[in-house]
């Protein structure tokens, strides 16, 4: 156990998926890749909630899976708790998975319908050989259920997933991720399938648990509004790279990157008097395929401010423009 400030350090992490080759490419010995994650670097402090925000296909889930070690990176480095965990053997992976747990998007699909909630929660304990006897394990299950406020735990333990509402399932899923006492939880869109009236409740519960147990979260979402409320730091991803990073107030109220700005204008807000107006969306088109990343700045084909330099010169790197506020744009000062 080190006293390093950062729990997770990601350096230039890459994940390239090879595409199926055409006959011509086989003969020429070529291989093309879908660059889902193409050089991502960030650090997550202990006890911090780090939000990864972006549109679908930007590589945010792949980044989460890389950190979960569900995928092996193509390149780069992943440091967890001062240990290099980029490549792990089976034993190392076992320990790592006890420290990093995941909450999935769909609480309806992430639980075995034939398991009672107590079996769902006991499963990780059995796999990791924690808790000697059944009675001990049940005590741990109860504790975890108490932590996520599924009370009284005795009542919820015997229920099947179909007897729980969406919100209760997501609480159950959180309890399952907590049961091994992890240091970090990767939550991939944990509330996007939950009703609005209970969504805030789940986020609230996750935040309370996080404070009580001093956990670190990686919160992956496409929803900027919940990210603002929930996170301590936001990174905005576009086509496999981070384009802007900083504390929520900086990124949302004082954004520099044209992509972040466009995302923020596009978000709907419950305010009167907008119904008869056509909203200006400053960027056109949709995210290009990650198989064919544009030259230069990868955002230039959609950027309203792109100049010749943006596609002729090399890609802008993420630089610190204010304290703790990083932007990857050549022209951020002018726009």
């Amino acid at each position: 156990m080190s006293n390093n400030k950062y729990l997770v350090e990601v350096e230039n992490l890459q994940k390239w998926f090879p595409t199926r080759r055409t006959m011509g490419e086989v003969f020429k010995g070529q291989q093309r890749y879908v660059k889902a994650v193409d050089g991502v670097s960030f650090k997550i402090e202990r006890g911090e909630i780090f939000g990864l925000v972006g549109e679908s296909g930007c590589g945010k889930t792949t980044t989460g899976k890389l950190i979960m070690k569900l995928l092996d990176p193509t390149g780069g480095k992943l440091i967890f708790d001062a240990d290099d965990v980029t490549h792990l053997d089976k034993v190392g992976l076992d320990t790592y998975r006890q420290n990093v747990q995941m909450v999935f998007q769909d609480p309806y699909a992430s639980m075995n319908p034939r398991f009672r909630l107590r079996d769902v929660l006991e499963e990780p304990l059995i796999i990791h050989k924690k808790g000697g006897t059944k009675a001990e394990r049940m005590e741990m299950v109860k504790k975890a259920l108490n932590e996520v406020r599924l009370q009284p735990p005795e009542e919820f333990m015997v229920r099947f997933p179909h007897m729980l509402s969406g919100g209760q399932r997501q609480r159950g899923a959180t309890a399952r991720s907590l049961i091994l006492n992890p240091k970090m939880i990767v939550a991939d869109e944990p509330v996007s399938m939950i009703d609005l009236s209970t969504r805030a409740e789940i986020l609230h519960m996750m935040k309370t648990v996080q404070r009580e147990l001093n956990l670190t979260y990686l919160y992956i979402t496409h929803d900027l509004s919940t990210a603002r409320y929930f996170t301590d730091k936001i990174a905005v991803m576009y086509l496999g790279k981070i384009v802007e990073m900083g504390v929520p107030n900086d990124v949302i109220d004082n954004s520099f990157h044209p992509y972040t700005k466009a995302l923020i204008t596009a978000v709907c807000e419950p305010i009167a008097g907008k119904v008869n107006r056509i909203k200006e969306v400053p960027i056109k088109g949709e995210v290009p395929s990650a198989e064919n990343i544009p030259q230069g700045c990868r955002f230039h084909p959609r950027c309203p401010y792109a100049i010749k330099e943006c596609w002729e010169k090399e890609e802008p790197v993420l630089e610190e423009v204010e304290k703790g506020h990083f932007v990857a744009c050549r022209r951020y000062k002018e726009i």
Binding site: D195, R199, D253
Partner: protein, 349 residues
Amino acid sequence: MEKTKMTDERNILEVENLKLYYKVSDGLVKAVDDVTFFLRKGETLGLVGESGCGKTTTGTALMHMPSPPGYIAGGKIILDGEDIVPLKETEIRKRIRWEKISMVFQGAMNCLTPVYTIGKLMTETLQEHRAFSQGEKASEFSKSRKTPRKMNKEEARKIMVKYLNYVGLSEDILRRYPHELSGGMKQRVVIAMALFLEPKVIVCDEPTTALDVVVQAQIINLLKELKEKLDLAFIFITHDLATEAEVSDRVQIMYAGRIMEIGTNQQIYGEQGPMHPYTRRLLEATPRLHEEVEELAFIPGTPPDLLRPPEGCKFHDRCDVTMEKCKTEEPDLIEVEDDHYVACWRCRK
């Protein structure tokens, strides 16, 4: 609900005491229970609510196609001056569905047959309808002929290109397969298909939910433009109050099969705020991007089981201002001010 007389010639659609029930082995699920509302010509009415509140069911009822085991148990759907509830299925297919009212289904963009080109998919709809449609609503193509016939390719193509242009797509889309298109383009294709037969009302069920924010904004703009250009009336179903604020002239909030509140955009989202406690708290739970909040509000509890709905007001057990009366008697939807309808005992003067 006679008190809420809504009949008016400005309305294209009037729904009176509509009931749609699902018969299941455990009993009767009253998914839409005695619902009365109207839709004016050229306006967008938003239907908001949590999942299971009956908003999609209302949409399918308007199309006269309740999904089994659901059935329309009563009420009237007056579309363009005609009650469509008692009509036979053949009649509905001939004259009503897709001709007068069409629907953009939830997730329809993911249901385009992958082995057909967009052109083939679109021709199918067109041929099916124009092949047996005749009389008043017949298009310029079949009007001149006595017997209905299938459209020829060139005619179909003309119409398809016209509507593809309306939704901002070019002609060469026709030769492409669904997998070659992005989500936003597929959604545009689905919208074009709903426009084909020049209906008067279009029901859009969560058309923007699966899309990214930027594309979502583009689709919302598209719907607004189409409304202007083609003089359509929309029913926009979504669970997101924030999206509704951008598209709907009037918003209708549903909970457990009942309408809780109907108000204009200004009445719901304006300074004064909504009147019904459910709407008010749902709005509080909606995160706002440009406002810093320490604690997001939420509504404790879960929506009721519609097999065993609570006595009295359906919302009383989650409400923070419950009175004794709420537990026993269900409030009607009454007009409290111009165009503002609320079903709550607390809001009665």
